[in-house]
Symmetry: C2
Subunit: 240 residues, 2 copies
Amino acid sequence: MPNPTAAMLVIGDEILSGRTRDANMYHLAGQLTEAGIDLVEVRVVSDDAPAIVAAVKSLSAAFDIVFTSGGIGPTHDDITADCIAAAFDDHIDVRDDARALLQAHYDRNGQELNDARLRMARIPDSATLIDNPVSIAPGFTVQNVHVMAGVPSVFQAMVATVLPTLTGGAPLLSETLRIDRGEGDIAGPLGKLAAEYSDLSIGSYPFQKDGKYGANIVIRGQDAVQIASAMTKLESAFPL
Amino acid sequence: MPNPTAAMLVIGDEILSGRTRDANMYHLAGQLTEAGIDLVEVRVVSDDAPAIVAAVKSLSAAFDIVFTSGGIGPTHDDITADCIAAAFDDHIDVRDDARALLQAHYDRNGQELNDARLRMARIPDSATLIDNPVSIAPGFTVQNVHVMAGVPSVFQAMVATVLPTLTGGAPLLSETLRIDRGEGDIAGPLGKLAAEYSDLSIGSYPFQKDGKYGANIVIRGQDAVQIASAMTKLESAFPL
């Protein structure tokens, strides 16, 4: 059975403006690979409601699982929850269960649950909450879309909550061989190897270091024996 | 006049598998912001021809300028050039101008221009070449799509070649204020400020450090005077 497919939607201006270098995509990609869920596409869109709604609809229809990050805080630019509701034609308002979580949290800290903070309890009617052990304000799941925070520590905690609830396939295994020759010398034998092992994914990631060319050849698949067999052939084609 | 809009398409399995953390997106986003070109969307897709072709068509139609990275090397998994040709219904084969560049380069280095390396001279008929001062194999431009390498040093060199040929708008300016209070305390006054300065984009990027909450408030726009005015109001609302 093929692995389930996933997409990620990163919401927010900070990556598109070059202010922030992505961390959540990198984290999620590694986690999904381990879990046997194939991350097939990532989109990054700005804090723009029509763009978010369109991307959610499109990715939700095309893939088994969708993860979003960003835009669920208390400020005016946090519009993700309302966009998810719009994408699924769902009603959204402050929900009692989410409000209770926040009320207890701010009571403990002697802070006021003001209007801004209450925005974080706006959850679509059909959603189930995702636990946020870091800063309490929950994420949520609507159908196949898991809506999570953009702050990396919170994002990672929510991923850790959601992942065990998903049914993955066989984890993707990989082995890497570094070859200190230009890709142009590697490509011929590598292409033949890829054709011979068509169940494996064989990727070539070139690099340039101290003026010399090389490539890391990564062989990926679900069958360790097959990967080892392909790796043996690769090594004998390019002896050190 | 509004700034031109841009999208980026990152092609390749290495980011989706969690093997590599993105660098090219981060570089391009910063460069475009300086150039006054609005990066509106990024997509990451795997080495899968239908996915690449569909993304190129969709982004090329929706935005003024599209940049791609990855998949133009000599190995079997480098399928970007053929996908670009397919997306624009263009013919593609080894082109004399690209072959001449490669032949001269490999002659100089005493290397053979073998079949694999010759793949890098496969360029769509209607394309213009993008200079690659790092490793010679050219990128290319078809209509509004600029096709560049995935190796960061080569990608950056190609961006440096292409950017001056594009007409940008006013550079996006920004000022940042770090406020060491939770977003829930900031959100109310910030929302009012955002409403008052509707020509500016005001973003809140929360962080958590040593158990304390804070946020970097970034005010972006094209009018330095207006940004300074909004920043003054923000500072007086949240005195240090």
